[in-house]
Symmetry: C2
């Protein structure tokens, strides 16, 4: 055996002591508090061309420790100015990704404890707090009792949709393996791109364009308002049956990303059941997933509870507190009715993960409810958010954004240069110039965003496919004055654009 | 239109002001600093039975805000005592999940900024910092030049293996769609469970047991040391070819979870190429993925660089700084040679995500390099860790754990009641009682962990399948005195167990 260094005296890396961490932790918290105070004065989106940050960073990692003064300097001068500020009060693009004080505190606690809750036994409190907080949300959203104890936090709705599809496939295989391998996924043309991405990952589609007759993904047309067209659904189901195939899963949406439209899940289930009954004389055993990633949290207000009406007939659903419920990214809530279908689709137990409690089947091991094995302690931040705000505080958060969107939509309807593309949905307003080309509307959006004060994004309108501008208040820091200011900027830009040269 | 509340005066939720956040942030940082100081005095694993935390939490969410004093009280009394303390200096189980001061600071910064770097345009600095820091690591690990600019942070190695499989499938389909749908995944019986889980998700396997002849997953036997048996590989490839199938991907391991064994990736590629050449007279176009989740970070030390020798012939590889490189969970580094195969397998662009830079193809949109759409700003914590420690500090971290494991293995070999199950690999030592039954070794592990001072886990030895106890120093807080104390506890428990009643 070779001569060995004395293991008691091997060089020690420069770990932070608890007190050094305390001091640097305070400094970092101060930096974030300062960011909260000053973000409003920054442009929402950066202006530097691609490669600017990359080129400004050294080619190679430092060999030796660098002081925190330098790290903070680079954070302030190089990183922060080149971010798109999702926490800016003028961020009205996409859907928000709203941090909050309590949410950040949850991330600090989670990072400090840094447990891996893959199994119940690898951190019992992480699993049990998650189960309890998901039950709180089930109750607060007035979801059916059947989802009690069957909630889990996923990273994103993309993962939620994927595991729903895997659970659906597992259940279908148990019933009829041959049919399951040909069964199809249905969703609308306005559904989120993650539905097709899930089909690509699971092996149902080879590419984003791989859908239609004789494939395993069918896109249902929508009504002009963006919700699934029930007649086209019925025709498609008939065509699927005519090919000798079954419907594996329907992914319905409550609040589409484009325009906030909601599919009628109850009508969808009825259509599927009727078609299946008439074709096979037996009930439909497929899976109905409800993607309520953005809109679902509005169900926390009794007056908006119907946004999750589809949950009554859904096999699974997901809702993202990281979009619009003050909980830091990432936090997607997923509920499943048939827990075994999910865990059987995802469970695999090597010897090194076996333990007494799992073997006894008396505990939840959330690794079997998700794609990855390891998992962060994400329930903490949701727990902190709910306790800090109380349900009433969360309702106030949702309500004022909806009130602001309502006000904003009224300004659009009363301005002769602008029109709504579709009715306002919750806090989402889609608008465009009256009698204008797509190019003119693109110019308008460019002009609006060039202000640096606000940032909006766009979609293709479900009815005519034309360019529509989306306005969604959702950031934690946004106040009514920011919405009013946004309207000033938008109105002025609209008038300038409308008065400009016609479509070239 | 119904009468609307004045949007300027809708009730305001009780958001934290920046100064309130500052105060509560300091308090939470203090709580973490105190945890760092005191975790050593806690039992590593909790003792309460399942349901204890669940039952102690209220049934319903609070309607109104609760004070932070109450939240901290519950955190201290209910949550922390019921965690498995992965940051405890006596945590020697599984592989570590090591937080560090700089890593936690990175999580604080990431949570405070809370940007979503799904697209370059949705936070340029988040994308460009990630690209640069991955290039730093490529250089520090001495990976082939071909991986430059082709790195990305995934949540976990499970996701890395899954996307490698999806990229492999995409490339195979481009060459021969029909062959691709029958092509098989090869990995060893000692590979991580996530490889089969990836096959289940992607649709290659219906269940964990769905492997063997006429299936799309084949498990290759290992040598007694746990590395892939080259003869069995050659036989399996011949059998696959005899079925008229191709090899889609081989997932090789550098540092198995059970015993730390490393497959000879270069020999694997040679075997595949030779077999393919003789069968088809053309080069093998399959995919070789290298799972170096735990062991890979040791390549940061020049004397351990060979642990990633397989990268020279790999199409992709992954390494987890969140296990053993002081970066908070989650942080898995993934590199791919053929970037297009990956992004083409995962890319889908709805209108609402289109933007000028992506359309021009001049930027990286990391959403196309991963399962989810949204993504946290995880590069910050890795950047902080590298800058705080410098590469030399990180090397010291790895080196002393290896020195301690070497010392520990020597104690095992010089104790007559214990033996090594296989040679020590890096910081992983597998041992068992001499001439004892599996039951006796299970009793030994129970006795060791009952101390509350240390926590070890087990595996099935690759040679004989028998119960083996794993010892892996890896926690940031562990010092040599904890390793020495662990040895005292283990030796005493071993002597008691060996002296106890024989196998019942």
């Amino acid at each position: 055996m070779h001569e060995q260094a004395d293991p008691a005296t091997t060089p020690t890396p420069n770990h932070m002591t608890p007190d050094e961490f305390r001091a640097e932790g305070h400094r970092m918290v101060d930096a974030i508090a300062d960011y909260m105070r000053t973000v409003e004065s920054m442009p929402v989106t950066p202006a530097e061309p691609p490669g600017s940050v990359l080129d400004a960073l050294p080619d190679r990692a430092p060999e030796n420790p660098e002081p925190w003064d330098d790290i903070h300097r680079d954070l302030d001068r190089l990183i922060v100015p080149n971010l798109t500020h999702w926490q800016h009060p003028g961020f009205f693009a996409y859907f928000s990704c709203n941090a909050s004080g309590p949410g950040i505190l949850g991330e600090i606690a989670s990072a400090g404890l840094n447990v891996n809750g893959m199994l119940w036994s690898t951190s019992p409190a992480a699993t049990e707090l998650e189960t309890r907080v998901l039950d709180w949300c089930r109750d607060a959203f007035d979801l059916p009792e059947a989802f009690t104890g069957n909630g889990v936090i996923q990273g994103t709705a993309s993962e939620a949709t994927l595991i729903a599809l895997l659970a659906a496939r597992h259940r279908a295989r148990s019933a009829d393996p041959h049919a399951a391998e040909r069964a199809v996924l249905l969703t609308s043309t306005q559904a989120h791109s993650s539905v097709i991405k899930a089909a690509m990952i699971a092996g149902l589609a080879e590419s984003p364009d791989h859908h239609g007759p004789d494939t395993r993904v069918r896109l249902i047309a929508t009504d002009p308002d963006g919700s699934m067209d029930r007649d086209d659904l019925a025709r498609t189901v008939a065509a699927v049956h005519a090919e000798g195939r079954e419907v594996l899963m329907v992914s319905a949406t409550a609040g589409t990303t484009g325009t906030g439209a909601t599919d009628d899940a109850e009508a969808i289930r009825e259509t599927l059941e009727r078609a299946h009954e008439s074709e096979h004389g037996a009930p439909w055993r497929g899976w109905l997933h409800l993607d309520a990633a953005w809109l679902g949290v509005a169900a926390i207000c009794p007056e908006h509870r119907t946004v999750l009406a589809g949950a009554r007939v859904a096999d699974s659903l997901c809702v993202n507190p990281h979009k619009w419920l003050l909980t830091n990214f990432d936090c997607d809530l997923f509920w499943v009715r048939d827990r075994d279908a999910l865990t059987n689709a995802l469970s695999i137990t090597p010897e090194y993960l076996r333990n007494q409690q799992s073997d006894a089947g008396t505990v939840i091991d959330y690794r079997d409810w998700q794609i990855p094995l390891g998992r962060r302690f994400r329930a903490l931040k949701l727990w902190f958010v709910i306790r800090h705000y109380g349900l009433e505080g969360l309702r106030a958060h949702i309500r004022r954004h909806i009130a602001w969107a309502e006000w904003f939509a009224e300004q659009i309807t009363t301005d002769p240069t602008l029109e709504l593309v579709c009715p306002r949905r919750a806090a989402l307003v889609c608008f465009r110039l009256v009698n204008a080309t797509d190019e003119q509307n693109k110019s308008l959006l460019t002009r609006i965003n060039a202000s640096g004060e606000i940032f909006l994004s766009h979609t293709a309108a479900p009815g005519d496919g034309r360019h529509a501008i989306r306005f969604v208040p959702g950031a934690t820091s946004t106040e009514f004055r920011h919405v009013a200011r946004a309207w000033e900027i938008i109105r002025e830009a609209a008038h300038k654009t409308a008065a400009g040269p016609a479509n070239r």
